[in-house]
């Protein structure tokens, strides 16, 4: 069992948790993920590692409440335990040889983009962070990003935080103004990453996208998380989760991620109903 040591709401639908998992903390690197189950009947869900503390033996996760299991997860409190917590899985972010990087995050994807920015910043890499949210009440990790970057640009769809517009608008301006990046690292909704990769391809800037497809085991056994990269089938869990953004078939990835949408919606509603009955 894996104890919840800290819980914090970052915005109405995004929660941070610090989990006691010494074996995972000992090995975790930015870019990797864990799989957890809330209880003995729970689905296995993958979440990217947001932070870790090797000395304290803790791993931080940040999740958006979107389905049945994240709803259940959000109902657990400090002192409670997760039934299962396994990792670190996948390959870490490659940082070697980088001098100047733009980290482009969207929505809850910023939770994953932040540790990458932080690691690069600590390594002495010049980091420009471009993050986007729908509106000001959904902004997370703003201070953290500011302290891990030499340039920070906040975008929102409605203009209620930072500049109004999309992350691709900001990134285009940066590149057109003469900023030369060795690499763009993008993490966020598939549609956002697709457009970021389209933009950087236009300018010939190498780009890595972090994929978060549906998974079961996370060790290469089921092939559920497969995607097409450069015409080849890859498994996000063992070959990724980060891939060359210019080679990913995003349309296929988007179709695959929608495979269980109706089921998820129904399961989430049922879980919410269950919790609201308990409250009554």
């Amino acid at each position: 069992m894996f104890e919840i040591l800290e819980k914090r709401s970052l915005n109405p639908t995004v929660t941070l948790m610090k989990i006691h998992a010494p074996r995972v903390a000992a090995k975790a690197e930015p870019g990797q993920f864990i799989i957890l189950r809330t209880d003995s009947e729970s689905e296995r869900i993958p979440l990217t590692i947001a932070d870790y503390d090797r000395n304290a033996g803790t791993v931080t996760i940040i999740f958006q409440i979107v389905g049945s299991i994240t709803e259940k997860l959000n109902h657990l409190s400090v002192g409670g335990c997760l039934h299962d917590f396994v990792g670190p899985l996948g390959r870490p972010t490659e940082t070697e040889g980088l001098k100047k990087v733009a980290v482009v995050g969207g929505g809850v994807g910023c939770a994953i983009a932040y540790p990458v920015a932080k690691k690069l910043h600590e390594l002495g890499v010049e980091v420009h962070a471009v993050v986007g949210f729908r509106s000001s009440d959904l902004v997370i990790l703003e201070d953290e990003f500011r302290s891990a970057s030499s340039r920070f640009i906040l975008m929102s769809d409605d203009g209620s935080a930072g500049e109004k517009g999309l992350v691709t608008d900001a990134l285009r301006k940066l590149i057109e103004s003469g900023e030369k990046y060795d690499r763009v690292i993008t993490i966020g909704p598939l549609i956002m990453m697709k457009f970021v990769c389209g933009l950087t391809k236009e300018f010939g800037v190498p780009t890595v996208a972090s994929m978060n497809p549906i998974m079961i085991d996370g060790t290469g056994m089921c092939g559920c998380c497969r995607l097409t990269v450069g015409g080849e089938t890859k498994f996000a869990c063992v070959d990724g989760p980060e891939f060359d953004g210019h080679l990913i078939d995003f349309d296929e990835a988007m179709a695959r991620s929608a495979m269980y949408k109706p089921f998820e919606r129904k399961a989430h509603e049922e879980t919410c109903n269950l919790f609201s009955q308990e409250v009554k």
Partner: protein, 461 residues
């Protein structure tokens, strides 16, 4: 005087049109009377040909003689001298190619139903009140076992009985490996697997689930930092193969591993499961092995019309005859000499149909089986909103890529000698991780052999 009837005692099974709608066990086992009657068919041959056909050399005539006398406890003792998982092997061993294929009674008529008798004895034992487990005195040596499938369980059990402090590391959240995530409930009830695992725990074996060796911790760290003197690698062959044909990544296309894992490990067949599965209304299973039969029979139970497509003929099917028979009885259709070349999509990105090429057999290939070759221009389409690729698996490269000095074959199998010793001192391996996908009993046998070699190594260290 032996019973000279030419036929085996029938074993009761759930009727096909009933069982193809539920996940309860298909075969119901012998009664005491049936078991004794079947045991009396054994000639008790002095040269024991059946035993020579058993990968772990169970003294088959001796245990059957005890069954014939009604001494089931004694029969169980004899079996467990050689086998770690009798309730499992009695169900899933391909006896028709092993012990029963050597039975003298099989020359004229049917062989003695050795598998059914093994299953009876194990089930009888499991139904008895629990005797308090005797935990052997510790000898102070530590051994690690990676993977809790058949080879790992067998290895851990034998080492624990000798007093070793054994820890099994398992990547998933439950132990059992393929017995838990692969073989369906209706062929191997999970309560039986759990019973075997509980038995190991009673012997003092520790099981650390949620630990991916190669990620969470490496073999080198287990040996240097955590004090394990020997390590057994029983990580199986879990990496699914795909055909690399167009449309294979469409929604509704699964590897057999994913399909079976959702159903068996995550219980997706249950109404209230939090893990979904879509078996569709028309399922096509590609492949002809036992795993293909399992996937087909699961899809049928979830309400789909099921086709198995296989590129050779019925004679070359690698699956056990009994599995094929059961599948047919349950209404699964077979398309032989058929090879998929494309999966077509509907407008929403879901599989709609499988385009197949008609094949014919020609000269034998490297495997010794007649090679299927395409009949030019002969194509047809099968409607399918669910397609399951069951064309084999290979060993996971994770251990190889994270263990210094561990040699593997080009195709990924770990290189080990006849006792399981790898190229790395103190590290042993066995089962599918070494041989590629094979059977439960061969894996179990390899685990036992390695346990004996690890015992020698640690005693003489």
């Amino acid at each position: 005087m032996p019973d000279m009837s030419l036929k085996k005692n029938e074993m009761q099974v759930q009727q096909p049109d009933v069982r193809n709608k539920n996940f309860s066990e298909v075969a119901l086992g012998y009664t005491k009377e049936q078991a004794i009657s079947e045991a009396k068919r054994c000639l008790n041959c002095k040269h024991k040909p059946c035993t020579s056909g058993c990968p772990v050399q169970i003294d088959i005539p001796a245990f059957i003689a005890q069954v014939a006398e009604g001494n089931f406890a004694e029969a169980y003792k004899i079996i467990t001298k050689s086998s770690s998982l009798p309730a499992v092997c009695g169900r899933v061993c391909p006896q028709e190619n092993q012990c029963e294929s050597k039975c003298v009674r099989g020359i004229k008529g049917e062989p003695v139903a050795i598998g059914r008798l093994e299953r009876f004895v194990a089930d009888w034992h499991n139904a008895q009140p629990e005797a308090p487990a005797e935990k052997p005195a510790s000898n102070g040596h530590k051994a690690a076992v990676i993977g809790s499938g058949p080879s790992g369980l067998a290895c851990a059990g034998d080492l624990a009985k000798k007093g070793y402090d054994v820890t099994i590391f398992e990547a998933l959240h439950v132990a059992g490996g393929v017995l838990s995530y692969g073989i369906p409930e209706f062929r191997l009830p999970k309560s039986i697997v759990q019973k075997e695992i509980d038995g190991l725990k009673a012997l003092g074996v520790k099981i650390e689930t949620n630990t991916v060796v190669g990620k969470t911790i490496s073999i080198d760290e287990l040996m240097h930092d955590e004090g394990f003197e020997t390590v057994f690698i029983g990580t199986g062959a879990g990496l699914p193969r795909f055909m690399n044909i167009p449309g294979e990544n469409l929604n509704g296309v699964y590897s057999a591993n994913e399909f079976l894992t959702r159903i068996n490990l995550m219980k997706a067949y249950r109404e209230n499961s939090s893990t979904p599965i879509k078996a569709g209304t028309k399922a096509v299973i590609v492949g002809g092995g036992n795993v293909a039969m399992d996937a087909a029979r699961c899809a049928k139970r979830l309400g789909a019309d099921v086709h198995i497509v296989y590129r050779r003929t019925e004679n070359e099917l690698p699956a056990r005859a009994e599995e094929v028979e059961h599948a047919k009885e349950e209404g699964i259709l077979f398309n032989f000499l058929t090879n998929p070349i494309e999966i077509k999509s509907d407008e929403n990105g879901w599989a709609k149909s499988v385009v197949c090429q008609q094949m014919k057999l020609s000269e034998p290939d490297a495997s010794g089986r007649a090679k299927p070759v395409p009949i030019e221009g002969a194509f047809f389409e099968i409607e399918a909103d669910c397609v399951i690729m069951s064309i084999g698996t290979s060993p996971n490269p994770l251990i190889k890529s994270t263990t210094s000095g561990l040699d593997t074959q080009k195709w990924g199998g770990i290189i080990a000698d006849e006792n399981g010793l790898t190229s790395k001192n103190g590290v042993y391996a066995g089962g599918d991780a070494v041989t590629g996908a094979a059977t439960v009993i061969l894996a179990m046998g390899a685990g036992k052999k390695a346990a004996a070699a690890m015992d020698d190594y640690m005693k003489n260290k």
